[in-house]
Subunit: 646 residues, 2 copies
């Protein structure tokens, strides 16, 4: 009989389990497996394994290269771009390294910190470039140690440009990329996946094309896992290079570097830097339209699409690496036309997962941070145990301090003037705050004609799922139930459902209805009376800024509010309402009133005092309807409350 096991599970160790194979009972008993449910096998894999898996399955993929931004504002924009381009499903991104720009520092614009943000907060598999020439061994080791500490797992090992005009070899120094590869393997064993650069036309400084191929082979023999090539203009250039590599025994993956031409000047600059020659047939097209950016970009997209098609059709290429120049449009367009941009790829879990290796077993989070996943990741970054290092476990470290809110990647994307237009130049009372919440829900312009597209608790417009509740949300916000988080109940929808689905195919997802809001103490008093009628069915937590806390949660247990049942797997319950962490969230949620809203206004101004009043006197309430198969009763709870008040 044949072994029909179709999957293997590579856990953190590099050895593969073979538990499903036809084997005697003795050896079978020894087989081990991942200790946590595996929804997304790739999440547990190293980059080189992911590449191999894609190659084996024939799935085509892409990756994206970015350079570090110059200013903090540009960094905020770049991170939004990571989120948007991450939605297309790149296998990885990489961040370049420029020795002159202090790339290993803690500055919010450094290569190191940008790569850290991509991995930890945007959940992207990331390669950090690193150059070695003109640097001491200690500096390089320091950079690598820091990268490892931050959860970076992949390094692109490069020589870098010489300091002066002339190239001088340093004895015992780092003269070539191969020295850096060897150093990484010596000092960090197999921890990092290492990428090196390949030159389809040969490195401009190499003695010959053949000599350069030999250097490349040395880099691979020294421990590189795969190769990304310099850009090129004709598919034949790459395919010949690839065959030549194979001929001398280079067997690791070689990924073509694709440069969609986006403008006349950027092309000229890149060509100058890379010492490449632009083929005459391309020059012939570009020169006449050099002042028409749109025309050049259209041509660039056409050119890239047809070259990529040739590469993919050759059967030798599975992945394409894009030099984005930090721009979105051209690359996205090429990817979409090639059909390898996977918009809305299957979400492995209903929240954005972090790509930090420590967090790969994380499969549950409190619902409170649903709209602030980066804040949650930041505040739990010191935890070293997921998911067992849970929020209420006294042995696990507390949530990170609140003072670090204003890390640039938690900043609002909107400037002060825009926020004032949305949230009101001048507030006249609590009702004008109700109005802001209501406009955010409805999407209608406020009385000054501006749409409210974000709130202190939500940096983005209403989620598609929340839209299902729009009508009821509008009604209650108008009356002072200021909602910041909610989800409808779901009684077993397919895991492939475009709105509420997540996890692998063939499963079913469930939710308990959830509603979280700020409201006045008057409403809370009535609400508590109403809730007595809903004991058992509705769990609640009600807390004010001073920490006065009213709850009916049994035994301080978390309440699972999102879960999924999948073929051949244990139950996954990725979202819970957790009574203990709610008190940490409460601090954050109340602080946002002041930090993001009140501080838009002058001290002592009436507007500021209104927000301060709400902050000081309102309660933060969350409600769960446990009876998920029935119609959501939370709206009835709110209606009953208002009725009682009248």
């Amino acid at each position: 009989m044949v072994n029909e096991t179709q999957h293997t599970c590579s856990a953190s160790s590099s050895s593969k389990s073979d538990g499903g194979s036809s084997s005697g009972s003795e050896s079978s008993k020894d087989s081990s497996r991942c200790s946590t449910p595996v929804l997304d096998a790739e999440r547990h894999e190293r980059l080189r394994e992911k590449m191999r898996r894609r190659q084996d399955s024939g799935d085509r993929w892409f990756s994206l290269e970015f350079f570090p931004p110059r200013t903090a504002n540009a960094a905020v924009n770049l991170i939004s771009r990571f989120d948007r381009m991450g939605a297309g499903g790149p296998l990885f991104i990489d961040v370049t390294w420029h020795p002159a720009g202090d790339p290993g520092s803690d500055k919010e614009t450094s290569s190191m910190i940008i790569a850290n943000t991509a991995v930890n907060y945007c959940g992207l598999e990331t390669i950090l470039h690193m150059t070695c020439c003109n640097q001491t061994k200690d500096d390089i080791t320091g950079h690598l140690q820091k990268a490892k500490r931050l959860g970076l797992k992949n390094i692109m090992a490069l020589r870098g440009d010489p300091a002066g005009e002339e190239w001088e070899e340093e004895v015992h120094g780092f003269n070539y990329a191969v020295d850096l590869v060897k150093h990484i393997r010596n000092e960090f064993d197999d921890y990092f996946d290492i990428c090196v650069a390949g030159y389809p036309k040969g490195h401009p400084e190499a003695e010959s094309y053949e000599a350069d191929l030999k250097h490349l082979k040395e880099k691979v023999l020294a421990g590189a896992d795969f190769i990304i090539t310099q850009l090129f203009f004709r598919s034949e250039t790459f395919l010949k290079f690839m065959k030549d590599c194979q001929a001398i025994g280079i067997t690791c993956p070689i990924i073509p570097g694709i440069f969609p031409i986006q403008g006349y000047h950027s092309l000229r600059q890149l060509v100058k830097l890379s010492k490449l020659e632009v083929p005459q047939e391309i020059k012939d097209v570009i020169e006449p339209i050099k002042d028409n950016d749109a025309a050049i970009r259209n041509y660039g997209v056409e050119l890239a699409v047809s070259m990529c098609r040739e590469l993919l059709d050759s059967g030798m290429v599975h992945g394409l690496h894009f030099y984005t120049l930090n721009r979105e449009v051209a690359t996205t367009e090429v990817l979409k036309r090639l059909g390898i941009w996977k918009e809305d790829p299957r979400r492995p879990l209903p929240w954005a997962v972090s790509a930090h290796p420590k967090r790969r077993v994380e499969d549950v989070r409190p619902i409170f941070w649903a709209s602030r996943p980066k804040s949650y990741i930041y505040r739990t970054q010191e935890w070293d145990d997921f998911p067992n290092g849970r929020w209420g476990n006294s042995s696990s470290p507390a949530f990170g301090e609140l003072k670090d809110y204003y890390l640039f990647y938690l900043k609002s994307k909107s400037p002060r003037e825009e926020l004032l237009k949305m949230w009101g130049e001048e507030l006249t009372g609590e009702e004008s705050v109700f109005e802001v919440f209501t406009c955010y829900i409805t999407g209608e312009p406020n009385k000054n004609g501006h749409r409210v597209t974000c709130m202190p608790w939500n940096d983005d417009p209403l989620a598609t799922e929340t839209n299902l509740l729009k009508e009821q949300l509008e009604k209650v916000n108008r009356r002072g139930i200021l909602t910041i988080n909610s989800q409808p109940n779901i009684n077993g929808k397919p895991s492939t459902d475009p709105i509420v689905g997540w996890g692998p195919s063939g499963g079913y997802v469930f939710q308990k209805a959830y509603l979280e809001f700020f409201t006045s103490s008057e409403i809370v008093t009535a609400l508590l009376k109403v809730l007595k009628k809903y004991e058992l069915r509705v769990n609640y937590h009600i807390v004010n800024v001073k920490g006065q806390n009213i709850t009916n949660a049994p035994d301080l247990q978390p309440n699972a509010v999102t879960w999924g049942i999948f073929p051949g797997r244990e139950i996954i319950q990725p979202t819970v309402v957790d009574p203990v962490s709610f008190l940490s969230w409460k601090d954050e949620a109340f602080a946002l009133w002041i930090e993001q809203w009140a501080k838009l206004y002058e001290e002592e101004s009436p507007s500021r005092m209104i927000i301060q009043y709400i902050h000081d006197n309102y309660y933060l309430v969350n409600l769960v309807d446990n009876d998920f198969p029935l119609e959501n009763c939370l709206w009835q709870v709110v209606d009953d409350t208002f009725e009682l008040l009248n």
Copy 2:
């Protein structure tokens, strides 16, 4: 505002969490809670806490006293009695200690081993009696250490009877129960809950009733947690005693010992031993009917019921302790008439939980042992981590050895002759085996007129839940799909459902359809072809006695097949199909063919060779239909298989 938290959670530490109380945010963040889902708060509590909880809630309860049996057969019967009487919901049972009977030994009839079985295999909270007079400190410490090692948590500390006729005090020895109480607290701190005896009429050897009360107070001051009294014949006797105790400051629970008169001789013997006097009004009734056992028992039940009613009505008594004399009928009758026998109490989980303190966090088991829970507990007794020490975790100890099958508590309750009548004096071929399986399913008599009430894999008749599948099971067993384990799919029934419900009220329970059977390799070959059509929907494991193993389980992950969603709690998934532990179960399941069935017949006999052939050549198959909201497709899979064969 009032603190509305309604439950607290006492974890393994003795301190209580107060996380739900109205408190500032700082202290609230420090609150901790049980690290695992709490379905049944009592499961995490010590006996004294359970008693307090019942007292606070006004729930009435009972407990049952047994003595160790003389023979191994009697032990098997006693354990069945534990299971049956355990179904009525005693708060605890206790096992007496007779120094002459080697009570601390490893014999299957010793007090120690009987108590161990009650805790670990029957899941009963258990008190082990222990006497101290005429024993060395080392012996006593040894017994206590052993009790602790076995998971016993409660000791009834007694003096015991003197060795000779005359009582002699030993200097530095154990002369009174209070010495034993002190010793336990000195050597084991707060580990054990300690019970002591109270004498409503005063101890027969005490100088006076008042002096005896003082001795009792000394025992409580030395660390006893509660008191069980000697039997008495009038409720006034107990109520006076209780008031007298309270008057001198004894505040711990005092539980009246109830002795339902069951026969003339047992009454006389007990009275002689306890040096009590039977009241004249009782003698007057009994003497004339002393040869009519039934009449005496009926009278005894009447008497006990009316005395218990008086005790409960007094408002001073919440629990009743029954001296059962290892008999079932009278005590059960009294309890039923009092309305405190809680037949079919809510199952906290869909399988019988063990009361061992190590296992109180156990909330998941492989489905394979569903009909052999004692075997599962035995085979995992060395594990010290539930549920994290899972079956596939290479760091957890393997399943216990198979050779220990024949521990007396895993024995079949039926003798060989009875098994032969059920399973066939003489088998004529595989079809006669099919016939046995079919008769077990249908409940119809076999061709010799005997009903098949047990099978090697099932010691009891078909479970109520399995009855739902009876018709289909009959059909497939007739054709050689020899089923040993199955469950229907359930798509969200209330947790209070009388057949499939479990866990607290207000929840919903779910199941995936499961079918496990032995079958021939011919059928397996066809089945595998059919299963290709059901990929993703149906997970399967197919293994033979040599361990050849065919499965489509992804990543060797367990597949949750029973789960429950409850108000305010995390998801519980108590039953899984686990690919790794299946290989341990396989060894046990195949061995049962030989050990329990083949060995009924002479070596070399045709009947024995038929069973041996099945053992050597059949496959053990399990199937899970992952699509629990749809109609169970496993019957279709089997039908398709037979169709393919024809």
